[in-house]
Assembly symmetry: C2
Homo-oligomer: 627 residues x 2
């Protein structure tokens, strides 16, 4: 399919007249298109428009490069436009290529043009500043996003009946039997509170006399353990279990973390929610398998639970993979991820690690070794086959004070007690994952996606770091604060796993959640539960998450099915599974890549999204034509 083009007559005035070639697709019903004639760059001068486009182009090429290096994803459509831009006017990047045959190596015509930055020495380091650029880029992207929002509203008003018609005509498929993936869920909170309560009571009925814990050096039975806590499981209720987030946790990540302890007792967290304990994590494995069983029965739901690797010592991977293999914690409906908490400061404070480099070594070296010689650690090698990616987790609102730059100490030199910044963590995780993936790709092994928590709180630099390094992210709330980044996330179609119920308990009231706004503007959002144990009430947490979003934001069936489709795309489900759930051409972009019989997403919606994205990318191309 041809990429739709926008024919423009570049002019010295900010008003540029634009015409859209209406593309023709197979199997997209007629619908009313929102065409904008003129004024697309209104409000910014032509010069600013061109500068903004240049900045956006640069940013996109940087992400493209970083994604390629780590075997992560970058959308084909965006790449096509970037190539067109380069073909027409640009050199992709200033590289030290030798001059080609026939080129005069002393020709000044090929020198790049003036960037217009101001260079100053500051703290013994040259720093560049460009006071205009961020400003006009903000203005331009802000206007584009506002336009995207209004355009979606108009599209919806004009075409919602037509979209519904497609959906109603589509046999056998509705929202209930569309595949949906819980793209962000922590294994230690993947069961709901009632499930955990039931499990604790059941375990006591069966195992009261079993030795399950080491209490101050002494082995104790479950009965003795509960006695030491002055508890009897028979009396426990959801209230006394006290793992649900309430009003008390709002804006209090510390109080929220304490909710992982049933009845406030870390001993019970150890016993029921940990992979390493006196019973080798048997209960935790059983609970997870029960959750998986519910998903298998529900049939259309999948989840991507996170297990922790802390980087505190080199043996963690062996223990975790031993747990995984021993208890055969496998389900076709689960795809595993590794989460790394950003708590170097705690380990350093207790002298568990000498410097940050050691933590990174504990996290990555065992995986490299198992990749180099799988036979040397068979359980880990098996486990790694089921690991699909890495997450970086912790309270983003904690500020480190450190600003990552080329001047920053290397990880081996980082031996102070203070935590490195978010960006520092992200960069070194990305760099290791990229190297690891190159090695594994060579060997024909599965590679890992980097999918950090990002933009739940804290500085917007987090979202910048993830823009360069992450295949996709969780949360992304703070994109609200930066139009430039938000627009870049639209252009590069970076999937965002959003959890409005989690946010509602921690950072942002439900009705203020930007989910609907993001969805309308064309960000690729999915819905996820984060922590059913803390946030959800019903037996089907993911359905609860969808139902509440549908009710509060008045989502249509099309919206919900589109979000479900996004979740499958974002997930680490295999190519085979994605072909089965989305259609064989799911890797193609636009309506061609959609099979309504499987996704229940109308082709009109797909065409709207695709044409809208192409229009925006084309604008950048137009802005760079004069170069």
């Amino acid at each position: 399919m041809a990429v739709p083009t926008v024919a423009s007559q570049a002019a010295a005035t900010p008003v540029v007249s634009v015409e859209v070639d209406t593309p023709t697709y197979l199997e997209v019903p007629d619908f009313q298109r929102v065409a904008v004639i003129g004024d697309y760059a209104a409000g910014v001068t032509m010069d600013d428009f061109e500068l903004a486009c240049r900045g956006l182009y640069r940013a996109l090429t940087i992400r493209e490069k970083y994604m390629r290096l780590a075997f992560q994803r970058f959308p084909r459509t965006a790449s096509q436009y970037l190539r067109q831009i380069e073909g027409e006017s640009f050199r992709p990047e200033e590289q030290l290529d030798p001059p080609k045959e026939g080129e005069d190596p002393f020709d000044v015509k090929n020198l790049p043009k003036n960037l217009g930055y101001v260079a100053r020495m500051k703290d013994a380091l040259i720093t560049l500043s460009n006071t205009n650029s961020p400003h006009f880029c903000n203005t331009y992207t802000h206007r584009r996003l506002k336009f995207l929002m209004s355009k979606f509203n108009v599209h919806e008003m004009l075409n919602e009946m037509e979209e519904m018609k497609e959906v109603k005509k589509n046999p056998h498929r509705d929202f209930y039997n569309c595949r949906k993936v819980d793209t962000h869920i922590h294994a230690a909170a993947c069961m709901n509170q009632k499930h955990l309560l039931r499990f604790i009571k059941k375990s006591y009925r069966v195992d009261a006399e079993r030795v399950v814990h080491n209490l101050k050096g002494k082995e104790v039975t479950m009965k003795e353990l509960f006695q030491s806590l002055n508890l009897h499981p028979y009396d426990l209720t959801v209230d006394s279990l006290d793992v649900h987030a309430g009003r008390q946790t709002f804006q209090r990540f510390d109080k929220f973390n304490a909710k992982y302890n049933p009845v406030g007792a870390s001993e019970l967290r150890d016993l029921y929610l940990k992979t390493e304990n006196h019973i080798n994590g048997e209960y935790f494995a059983t609970i997870i398998k029960e959750v998986a069983n519910d998903l298998e029965e529900a049939k259309y739901q999948y989840a991507e639970p996170r297990l922790s690797i802390y980087g505190c010592n080199a043996n963690e991977w062996n223990k975790l993979s031993n747990w995984f293999v021993r208890h055969r914690v496998y389900s076709p409906n689960l795809k595993w991820m590794i989460q790394v908490p950003r708590i170097y400061d705690i380990f350093r404070g207790r002298n568990f690690v000498p410097h940050f480099g050691k933590m990174l070594e504990n996290i990555f070296l065992p995986v490299f070794q198992a990749t180099i010689d799988p036979q040397s650690s068979p359980e880990l090698s098996i486990f790694l086959k089921h690991v699909t990616g890495f997450d970086s987790v912790d309270d983003e609102s904690k500020h480190s004070g450190h600003m990552f730059s080329t001047k920053s100490p290397k990880p081996e030199e980082w031996d102070i007690a203070k935590n490195p910044s978010y960006t520092y963590y992200i960069y070194y995780m990305y760099a290791n994952i990229a190297a690891l993936n190159q090695l594994r790709k060579q060997r024909g092994m599965n590679t890992f996606m980097f999918r950090p928590h990002c933009g739940e709180a804290g500085a917007i630099t987090h979202l910048l770091a993830a823009f360069m390094t992450a295949d996709n992210i969780s949360h992304g709330l703070n994109l609200k604060k930066s139009p430039v980044l938000q627009y870049l996330y639209v252009l590069s179609q970076i999937p965002i796993a959003m959890s409005p119920l989690s946010n509602n308990s921690l950072f942002l009231e439900y009705a203020k959640n930007p989910l609907l706004e993001f969805h309308k503007k064309g960000l690729v959002v999915s819905l996820s539960t984060d922590d059913p144990m803390q946030f959800h009430y019903t037996k089907e947490p993911l359905m609860e998450e969808y139902a509440i979003a549908a009710q509060v934001f008045k989502l249509s069936t099309c919206d919900m099915c589109e979000i479900a489709r996004n979740s499958v795309l974002q997930s680490a489900l295999s190519d085979e599974e994605k072909r089965h759930f989305l259609g064989k051409d799911y890797l193609k972009e636009g309506p061609e890549g959609n099979d309504i019989r499987k996704t229940n997403v109308p082709q009109i919606r797909m065409a709207y999204r695709y044409e809208t994205l192409c229009y925006e990318l084309n604008l950048i191309k137009e802005g760079l034509k004069s170069e």
Copy 2:
């Protein structure tokens, strides 16, 4: 337990100093009370305060009388205060009692005082006006409600930890195993959309060749029926079924009503959701029994479904009770109600009834006859044992133009095509139910509660009519618009079944729903689903309703358990069931009437509610002292 008193020194200034005697109860933990010293009547003059109190007193005595006449409920605490007021200064009402012994029948001292109304002849009818009274009553009650809101907020801040402590200490009981009643649900929409879809497909697999319908005089099989609709059930999805409310139904009751027709076909509504059809309502009975089965399995959930009696002909009761008995539509988890749609205008237009009186006769006469001679209609008599009340239903925003007054035509005279007003309907339903209840009470039979839809939309006079006639109501949204009525509903503790998800699809966005505000101010609110088929997504609609309210309004466990307790109180569950679910003293008001082991509602919350209500009632007593 003594009613707590407020000692006041009445003064000529609006600032009245008040002290609260802290009551002592058994088994209420210490908590911090919000005492207000002074200024309770600030903002209104002493005269206005007294006038407002007189008006509120009058209103409460009117409701008390009407409830007594119909064997409906009026709270004991309010009655106690009314008696105290009367003992101290007042005669309850001006009645034409003969003079008591020793009284001078010509004594002018006993003449009532000047009401201050202005009497004028208008349209050949004397009308009374009192321009001051409503105004100052609005001001006063508005201030009281604002105060109640702030007081609850302060109480919550001071005591939420203490309340939670009680709840956590309470063994075996949490929100999940508190009894909750779906206090407002229509039988024809009591299954969710997925359930109906599954049922239709299943029925086709089993019954394709069965004669199920009469199509233009010809008996047809299910297969033929679906063929005539150009449908095959195998292809049906939730989308093509199209019974769910969407954005299209907001503010469009007409479009909402059309959603009762699966696939837009009234034939399918007849076949699956009606008690009267070619298969004697067998499918509808089966679906309801499946819903009941789910409730029985969930164990802690009950529902009060409404079945329709239209008043179109005299045979409806026999048909309905035949359906009920034939299919044995019984479940311990269901309590039945009769809903009467306010659609006289349609029946009159088609000449089904000669006048409104005939409609009332069709609705009530068969019930009177079965009460007088149960053997004459055994099925109806059996059915009536399971009927617990009457509901009045339809779009309240339709305006009739008629103003009910003593000048209004009698029902037998009402032979025009125009519909009578809401108030007219309500009055005649109440009057018939009151008479019927007196008869049935005499015979030791169960009586019926009047529980109309009221205040979902339309004029606030609806809420006034229900204040005088209804045991409890559904919706009540418009109490937002009248502080006087809202305050009266607080004082007389009239239960309100609220359905924010239904409102969200029809009349009011979720976040703007007054549920939380009403709850804080001390209105007795419960949560109900209204129409799961149209509004809900999950398998447990009532839990979905609670979960969403909990999430959006950040309800605490105490709030949720209090609302669940309210739902049991509001419901028509039997005395035996209520004793079992709420505690043996549930009829007592205040903390005495609560058994936390059964309700999980903390005694601190009960004491707060009780003392707050007593304080408000006592204010009225104070205001009337000077009389």
